[in-house]
């Protein structure tokens, strides 16, 4: 099967820009992606666009055509919504479309405007990714849902808040060199432990920030990349998606994410790799406990052992398998609809040697991107590999 090449990537800064519209954010990301790719806009056949809360934050539905217009491409455009996995799902469908030969060039991206809602408004908007009748109306928030998982994890496997704090410290450390990151500041374990509680045991520094931002990538077929002699040394070689029951209380197990396991197994098999081949990972650490569950679902850590991975330096920048060298959602920021594509952009740059943190992984050839929606009722996993260019 022919591979899909990442021809160009573009990210806006992630952060607190409440006045900026998502169409403006997305335009900036696509301008950067086109410049990076060397692909002319007229060669693009379709836009796959991820966004979660546009109706609530901007009173805007039907965003596909709006975003194609913002990007300056006259193409069919569809918005993907899978909560925080929206643009991961967009990537997956774009990869499938390119592989089956229907098209040679697509743009995949996502954007989210959130900070204009304020903290309470954004908390309410994020909560709609949960079951409205049976979770939200009982007062469950998203930090609350992940706190329920953290408590269940501690109960079954052990561990404590201090273990989780090391994950936040690691991801802030990784973001120090990421000029697009929302937080470019180091924190200490004590900062995490002493921060105000959001939903016990999780505090402010266990939680990703509320962010505005956009991400875009230009994906092409291998044939197009070679014909055009593009500098596109990274391919998406594996794609997988998993699903699960909507409400956390309906999961078979409250401290595991089988949808992510399903997505990971499918992506590894698709790429012909195994977890031991993975040199680096960008995973969906919306809360510190989420990084633990992601690494266990991806078999990068054994079930019950992921809690100690950051503390024991297995996933730090110079560890065995560096995780979230971008800073992750925790420090880079989490403009929900942009996150899945931003992970693809970060892994691409890390493997290509174009990332400030590539110095930590000079020999890396294989990376994974894990994007999760809700309490992981939706998950996508993609495997990216550096390819030998002629």
């Amino acid at each position: 099967m022919s591979n899909v090449r990442v021809a160009g990537t573009g990210l806006t800064p992630f952060g607190n820009t409440p006045e900026r519209t998502s169409r403006d954010l997305f335009a900036e990301a696509t301008v950067a992606a086109f410049e990076d790719s060397g692909v002319p806009r007229e060669d693009v056949d379709a836009l796959f666009y991820g966004n979660f809360m546009g109706e609530l934050s901007e009173h805007q539905g039907h965003q596909g055509p709006l975003m194609a217009e913002a990007a300056g491409i006259q193409v069919p455009a569809t918005r993907y919504e899978a909560a925080c996995a929206s643009s991961g799902a967009a990537i997956r469908d774009a990869v499938v479309r390119l592989r089956n030969g229907e098209t040679d060039v697509v743009v995949v991206g996502g954007a989210e405007r959130m900070t204009n809602l304020g903290t309470a408004g954004a908390t309410e908007a994020l909560a709609i990714a949960a079951d409205d009748l049976w979770e939200v109306r009982a007062g469950m928030t998203f930090p609350g849902a992940y706190a329920l998982m953290a408590k269940a994890y501690f109960e079954e496997f052990g561990g404590e808040h201090e273990d989780l704090a090391h994950i936040a410290v690691k991801n802030h450390e990784n973001a120090l060199t990421n000029e697009k990151a929302q937080y470019q500041s180091a924190i200490e374990v004590e900062d995490v432990l002493e921060a105000p509680q959001v939903s016990s045991p999780l505090g402010l520094y266990d939680s990703c920030p509320i962010s505005d931002g956009a991400a875009a990538v230009v994906l092409t077929s291998e044939a197009y990349a070679e014909k055009r002699d593009l500098e596109a040394p990274v391919a998406i070689t594996g794609t997988g998606q998993g699903g699960d029951r909507m409400a956390l209380h309906d999961r078979d197990h409250l401290a595991r994410s089988p949808a992510a396991r399903e997505a990971g197994e499918e992506a590894y098999a698709d790429a012909g790799v195994s977890a031991t081949d993975v040199d680096l990972a960008e995973v969906h650490d919306c809360f510190t406990i989420a990084e633990v569950l992601a690494l266990e679902a991806l078999d990068i850590e054994q079930v019950g052992e992921g809690i100690s991975a950051a503390r024991d330096d297995r996933t730090t920048a110079d560890g065995e398998t560096p995780v979230n060298l971008s800073g992750g959602l925790k420090a880079k920021g989490h403009p929900v609809g942009a996150t899945g594509v931003s992970q693809i952009a970060e892994v691409t740059k890390l493997l290509a040697g174009d990332h400030p943190n590539s110095t930590h992984v000079p020999d890396a050839t294989t990376g994974v991107a894990h994007n999760a929606g809700g309490t992981v009722a939706s998950a996508t996993v993609h495997v990216l590999e550096e390819v030998a260019q002629p």
Binding site: W134, A138, G139, M140, K151, V198, A247, H249
Partner: protein, 131 residues
Amino acid sequence: MSDAKDDVQDAGFDDWLDAAEDGEAYYFECPDGHGSLPPRRVCPECGATDLEQQPVPETGEIATFTVTHVPTPAFEDDAPYATAIADFGPVRITGQVVGIDPETVGNGLEVEIDVTVSETTDERVVSFRPT
């Protein structure tokens, strides 16, 4: 004048709250014994369509819980409050733990279903009360 129907109920869910207020909470059971909550026509585990209404066991056990300090606007006057997932045999349910200091809630606590009212919105809330 707006003709928005703010007082429209959610069939199935509000009926369940009515029943729970009368101490008659129920779930749906498929022939294979999978439990699920309404509104429900099809078993989400196996696709069976012949679902039977069964009473939820009188007591359940808290499986995991959290104390929420940063709520959604619909619960701003209620915070801090304890949210829990409780096992009631064939079904698990998410609810607020009431009638106890939130900081003393623990896993394994035996509870019964109650329906309380949000201090913020006066809307009904699925709750758990220690037995």
